[in-house]
Symmetry: D4
Subunit: 156 residues, 8 copies
């Protein structure tokens, strides 16, 4: 019986990179279990006021939602064996960088994923990572190697 | 296979709020496992002297029982993913506030549940919480969102 | 050169018990440094809105203040060698019980101080304590014994 | 003798907010000691290659520098009693958000400082904070209250 | 599905108290899993030299064995939810007191078991315990109460 | 149902000592699960550049690979109940000594395996170990004793 | 300016071994600060009831005192750099073995001191130690070597 | 008043690299305090038997000494802000790699120092480091930058 590795996929929510990784992992039959923040953007923004009652001030509207989301995200990061954080080309994505810092302080192995055009502003985040990947496919290969010891052209 | 979330339900023992939450969670088929202190009040008071022998002084009668209850409560709080603490309108309920502080120091996500009439005396406890709910039904909705990402009117 | 012991005095703010302890410690020249929450009640209630701007809702008024107070209280509890928590006869004092739970989870030695009339509702809090005192004078004697090994009638 | 509080000032490096805070703290004679990342931008970018030798690839140029800066920043965050993180209106500032997450996971009390126009993208970072300030002057007032218990109009 | 509680049974090896507890737990169908040091005295003494080669000096003979036994005992104490330590009337049993201290420092709930004739010399060990029992039957009742909330004469 | 013990086998990769241990454990039907670094030497050296792209400098070629291997090795050491480290007669094997130090700082029980000719240079590593074995067969016997309490000539 | 090392001297209270060590350390001008439990036996036994009020039952008489002593002993062990535990030839000394286990679980370097006649019953305690000394003079020499790097016949 | 940084200098003992660093730090008036293992090789080898009595077997001779040295080295690594480990061209130096792993697991910032000819066998150790320096002079420059923010050609 093989151990299941828990992989938390933090960050960008406007492309289907999580599905790409999940598909690649399925094709290789990796013993992994993925988790992620709630990726439905409107639900994520409004969960606080929808469940606990509305707020006139945007600040408290956001606070209520962000703290409920925080129950999920901090719980899942703490349970994860590996934390992957992807940065897209748009948006501030401060929550992604926050998650990376949070995971780093807990000693979780970090894999950062982003394109070459944002190497410089991400240098402190990258410097805390065990791997910096440009594509979801590379992340699948890293997981295959880390978990199964398989490397294309070497072990196969 | 989905992970089971452990939810500890601390506090008030004179209403059926735990059953309400359990019923709501069952209706939504949430992958949760609830735990709680012993809620049989006389048993909770007398467990120490019943098992280990009587005491003339009320102080030691209480101490013996409270420490045996403490084996249960601290063990379950440590194992919990989320700690919910409910304050009723009556009684001192210092053990509930103690549990909240204990859970907070361990970094457990806290959900506090109480009515609007005791907002002010509970402000320090609420300030340590990720969510402050007024009803058990809201707690079920929070769990459904946090665990499954489901939010009425958004994802359904 | 003798080490200074840090003693945090949590709880009741309507009597002068902290001054009594400080005076007793001074008379015995104990090498201690006391700390405490802000005990000016109006300042404690309003610090959040006074500094960061007003809130219409009492809940957020309280939250803003309680979190700023929380910076002080959790910092000082973490730095303390011994945490003393006093419960008076009035008020809910849930913040006092919260502090006791917080300190207990951090493994801080707890001394609880209260009168005999509230022994039963405090039993879970007392059960986590290393000593339960009825008077501030007893707390001074405990500190003198714990720090200096002095006990009236034995070592003097 | 009063304890010195260590305050780490993370984030924005293009305005003189750190000097404002230091000046305000000096005027109030606060027992604080401030620390910060290296705020000389060119030195911060080039420290790695200047000391350890050049790199052709920008990625490794950045990595070398960011890791040396990381020795300083993670050491100082770990030693801090309170971590303040300021976000300006420009730039990605992912290192600031990373520091906030890092400090949050270590249980450090966080004060976040930013203008009202970036409340929404910072909601997850703000949600982890004990206080969200708009100006450096407010931060000085928070420190004065937290450390000395002083509040304008109340205790003075 | 109910969680299994891990109970480590440390201490005395010359009576059948572990079997008594196991039998009692089986009768009540408690969801528990017991573990213990190796209780075969000669094997425990000689495991080091038998496996790794003989020693002329008794000191190293003992060291080799005690360290291999230590792999087992510290591993099992770390995994335990509750640690029970029994002191018999004979022998030094310093390893039992060592285990109690080890478990206490890890924050494990301790149950100490011994007869009334050794109350005084065990006072420091008892003072770290959540319960002090005189008989194995009482330990079974404590486990039934702590795990199932069952108490004879109250809940049955 | 018996717990499975996780055993991490670090160090030498040029003999079949891991297979010997696995075979011996299978013959005794030990409830163990072994893990190890990737032992395919070329894959281990090149995994970084193969997955993430080539490097001209050997230093970064090595860094990329070593960090990906580090995801695996530190994760598995953290999950292990017991860490075994074997030193062969050749090569620097600094990664083996690094793993031993890493495991020791985490409080993992260490078993070191090496021949008598390198006792002196390994003295600091051996001094952190619970057992120092010369052969894989001895390691199997230690596991059988530690997990099952079985010792040839005593319990059989 | 040289760091002061904190050395906790636990165990036997019927000989003057602590004075011997202190004298030896003074002669060598070691930068050390010693601490110890309260060694006045009657005060140690009666501190609880003397300060907090009498008890009819010996068990609670002992409990009250042992817990107050526990404030001192656990605080000082946690602050210590090195913990020394001495076992005399008489008495149960379970508190000494408890302290050794407590210190071991906290990762404190342990030095155990006892005569050759009790090597066997102390084997588990000795196995957790970094050094096992027979005399106080040896302990002084160990401290001189560990702190100053001085060894008679080598460095002098 | 400036904080003093504690720097532990582990590894090679046959060149004067520690003096070079100390001299460089003194010239720059860095607020640092260096510590190191005992670097007198014969004393380091024989401290155990010299203080505690001779051993016939080399293995125990080494064990006794290595454990006493371990009191010093693990204490100083735990107290260090930064750990520097230097590898020379000769000898096994497994204790240096062990120290590096030990420090890495404790989350200490690591600086590794070695020549280019041993890059490959040190790749796992280097991969855990925040900086890899070739010369002691570079280490002084790193310390000057990390502590004072000074960088030749930039801030001067």
């Amino acid at each position: 019986m093989q151990d299941i590795w828990s992989i938390y996929l933090s960050g960008e929510i406007h492309t289907d990179w999580r599905e790409e990784i999940a598909k690649g992992a399925k094709e290789k039959a990796l013993p992994v279990q993925f988790s992620a923040p709630v990726t439905d953007h409107p639900a994520s923004d409004d969960c606080g006021v929808t469940i606990l009652g509305g707020e006139e001030k945007k600040f408290w509207h956001d606070r209520k939602g962000a703290q409920i989301n925080g129950i999920r995200t901090t719980s899942l990061i703490k349970k994860a064996d590996i934390v992957v954080v992807r940065f897209g080309e748009k948006y501030k994505q401060w929550n992604a960088a926050f998650d990376a810092g949070y995971a780093a302080a807990l000693g979780k192995p970090l894999i950062i994923n982003h394109g070459p055009e944002i190497v410089h502003p991400l240098k402190e985040v990258d410097a805390a990572a065990m791997a910096v990947a440009e594509t979801p496919a590379q992340i699948v290969e890293i997981l295959d190697y880390v978990i199964n010891g398989k490397l294309a052209g070497y072990t196969e």
